[in-house]
Symmetry: D2
Subunit: 335 residues, 4 copies
């Protein structure tokens, strides 16, 4: 049921790279990501803060932009391997009749702005300024020691169609979620681990979350503890828990604007093409497939819109077991 | 507001020692505690299984007894320092008009059965058979590597009265929970850490839970993962989370009979008498004071009765924020 | 000073894949890798045992072959992306005048045996049989929970020449060790982390070690503890310690035949081509650059020969500070 | 062979409490203990810095005193339970013909200075000022997150005689080291874990080391990493390793004056009197009984003298396998 993957894609996307978010209070958001997630500031201007994880050598994986308006996502970024992949990408998107235009972006090499068929705003570049990796400068560590941006999860009104589009760009599924012959969730990667881009079915396009890796499971507890200390205990939205698909330990936090960031501990290695994607069945899967409580309703249905994107309602919205429906059943069972 | 502590108590209780539980299916319960909690079996007869934690040298800290009837708790055990403390204890309980009688208990020295004023069934002894500590026999480890029994939490219809009783026996509070001048929770210890006996207000006497220590925070995730693997995912009742009082990382599991066992990582050291107990205010405290979801209703109100004990309704039952009430508010806030 | 890298190599090697070792006692070696490293057995025949790490889906990453003779390494394996990469590889090696021949290897797809210019025995294949990843079957875990094969380190009589050869195949340096303008150590990768193949200067070709990842730092202590328990305490050859280049926590064990296996915790992500390799200077670098004792002489000079390979003496052997020379200085300083 | 323990000692010592050290450079030593060990400063005057572990409520467990002269240890402190225990202690030491005099010590209650029969300088008090425990103020954590002072190890010219003295004060052995019928090491405790005072045979009296607990094994690696970062890589004197007696993971650091501090992860619980001390045999025990390299000569023979104490040569100095003798054997075995 999965779309065919083009293993020789028209241009070479290598990995999820950086996310650009509008925030209502730059200083407050910066503190959140520094003190709780543990990112380091690479640069800051009056209205923009550039952050990276401790293990990252590229200039930024998170860009916070002071906004007067809505807390949208401006772009999610992917890296391509060669400069010339940008030109090939430009040609591809133009040929598809999709938006594609060159942009000047600080601290990045030549940059291309494109959109997928549902209006997800993407940004491609082949290089960034570099900075020293900080992963051994332990004396400067803060927060949960966020190591590197790993992946995004987006809402698409049609998961299969979106999955088919990214499959043409060489994205493969490590795991996927289906109901009968309907694809509901596609966990796709380009780099050699489980994920660069997860696509789930819902009104979109929206950014559901972006995820940073942490080194060890205790960092997940530290993230929660610091969220509590800094006044964000209600922002620990889901977890700590263990994922079904992918199998990682995770926690989801909501930042001051409600953008959702996941911290998780590690992925297995993909790469080889003979390995079949793992299928999960929606009929038997709840989000607490391993243990723990289901995710709350808002985890399923709230997400960050992309700046200027037109929201498209999905024909088949998810009907998950939520914390709310689970608790209703619990209550009904009480004497 | 705390009762006066007798620092020269009439006899010397040293620590929480062992819990004796009725179970409906001995083999199943044994598997639960071996495979998930990680206890080791010291001995087993046709109807009784004796278990201990990896770091324990005494014969048992958990005794499972095959039962035809209700899954009650037979006794919670405390150790006294000297043999003669048993005689002093006998005299004390008799003088108080409380039940006290000698018992023969396998693998234990001379044993005394007594009850506190609300009928909590206690068992005192001064010695046990010993077994090698297993804490370095890593090749035999299972489950979450439960190290040692640490404490009990009981329901008392009158926390202040119960706390006053145990204060006369030399128990001190490390922390306590109050509402105005009403004592709602007493976190009491004899050994030099936070807890041997926690007392919270509710219909009782009941055993709310008993707790084993684990060495590191990752063991808590392992407990959850194994609960999921062995079919007990719904038994992960609360957590993983971080306690308000005491501040430990914890998870609560329900065993096959619904007995509740806590795994937590570590306590600070008490001992010195000049240190004031930490006060927590019920008005500002929810059970998720640090982060995470509130405990479900059943965590607050379900507990294991003591065998043969008459339940006494409390005059002021707790009115906690539960998962259920919290979720109701969440739902109400949704558009 | 680093050789030019061909970023469009003649064929696409994707990662280090598997190592094939001769062992004197198959059962004993199997026990070592299962009980201490924590690998799982995928298959076993009378004279061959196939093992994989907990997170691996491919049939084997370690193949132990019962031998009557010397404990040599038969081959180190690399994966190529497409079947046709094998044909391209065949053509390349033939054109170079290097050995290249097709082989039948159990549980692998079409397999090519080749040698680098110094006689290092390589094995290339594009696919293997697959097995379920075991990384969440915690109830079956043993040993240090070895996750996956990560890389090899080999001895080359001429590091620069070897590095130049592998650079033509698309291998890049994440870090390197130099003395003035002499390249002494090349830490090269194809997959998106620090290493697939480390090359250090010494008499060769030899396999210095192969390395498995572990999830968390505590697994490194567990490996040591289990080595002690199973009678291999003297086989904990170096560490636990923290690497200079790469910066990982590590321990090196010698297996029953003296083959050296490293366990280490994690690597940063590479991938992007604008990031410069990190240079380490041999003049200022000791192997205990971070902390801890220098490696013993045998760690520097003992390695596993490749089966049938002619040893070539290096013109400039390493002159490291060893544990032995360090201790001599310590002793001289004592009164 | 162990001396008889007085289980009803003349006064009640409860635990190891604090160590007072002369240092050559107060600022430098403070930085060492704050940045590497992770202690917090409770107070500082011109010439004295008072530190405590994150989990400690008492004012200080380490007192650094600026010195013009030798880097001696002024005192090691123990707590007694009641004020009146101080008077009982005074009477006891006087009756023994041992030094005992009252002292005024800042931030402590009434304080008694005494000496054991070999001149070990002890300080007893029943109370201190208190400070908030910091163990959950994660945002302020530094270093290896040292939790609390746990124990001391001293040199005694006659271990058996010293052990006999402390046994009269109620100290019990959790484990001990013997050669035939000669006691070489006594691992003694008052609080309910393995250790408050370890006594090993050597010229003395000297303070071999004092030890702080850490919460998890990864903190031990952090201590080493930070030692390296702050210029103390050569001060990581022994470890990380696993103890024979006690079985803890450990690392030993030398501070700027050469005082030795151990960080270790956890102890089992003692308390019960029926449990026999564990015997270790010097003939079969090396210090690397579990795994890892033997301790260097200086770890065995260097220690901090007590201020003003007369050194007494032991009649039977230790003859351990050291790193130096071990390496000599290694070297001899090399071709």
């Amino acid at each position: 049921m999965l779309p065919e993957v083009n293993l020789r894609p028209p241009f070479n996307i290598t990995r999820a790279s950086h996310v650009v978010l509008h925030v209502a209070d730059l200083a407050k958001s910066r503190e959140f990501y520094v003190n709780i997630v543990g990112l380091v500031v690479s640069d800051q201007t009056e209205d923009t803060c550039y952050l990276r994880g401790l293990a990252e050598a590229c200039h930024h994986s998170l860009v916070l932009v002071q906004s007067q308006g809505a807390a949208t996502c401006k772009r999610i970024g992917f890296r391509v391997f060669f400069e010339e992949d940008l030109d090939l990408a430009y040609a591809f998107f133009k040929a598809e009749g999709l938006p594609a235009e060159w942009a000047e972006v600080a601290h990045q090499g030549r940059t291309l702005h494109v959109e997928d068929p549902y209006g997800t705003k993407l940004e491609l570049c082949a290089s960034m300024e570099t900075r020293p990796r900080m992963y051994l400068e332990i004396e400067k560590f803060k927060g949960a020691h966020g190591q590197r941006l790993d992946h995004y999860q987006i809402f698409s009104p049609d998961t299969h169609a979106s999955c088919a589009f990214y499959s043409r760009l060489g994205f493969r599924n490590s795991e996927y979620l289906a109901h009968g012959d309907q694809l509901l969730g596609a966990f796709m990667y380009r780099k050699g681990t489980c994920l660069d881009l997860a696509i789930v079915q819902n009104d979109g396009p929206c950014l559901h979350h972006f995820a940073y890796t942490v080194s060890e499971s205790h960092n997940i507890f530290t993230a929660c503890d610091l969220a509590g200390i800094y006044g964000y205990s209600a922002s620990v939205e889901r977890g700590p828990g263990r994922h079904g698909p992918g199998g990682m330990l995770f926690v989801y936090l909501r930042d001051p604007d409600g953008h959702r960031v996941e911290l998780f501990n590690s992925h297995y290695q993909t790469i080889d093409i003979e390995i079949e994607p793992v299928r999960w069945d929606a009929a038997t899967l709840s989000t607490n497939v391993r243990w723990g409580l289901p995710a709350p309703h808002r985890w399923y249905f709230e997400a960050t819109p992309f700046e200027g994107a037109v929201q498209i309602a999905t024909a088949s919205p998810p009907k998950p077991e939520t914390l709310e429906t689970y608790v209703q059943k619990l209550s009904a069972a009480q004497p």
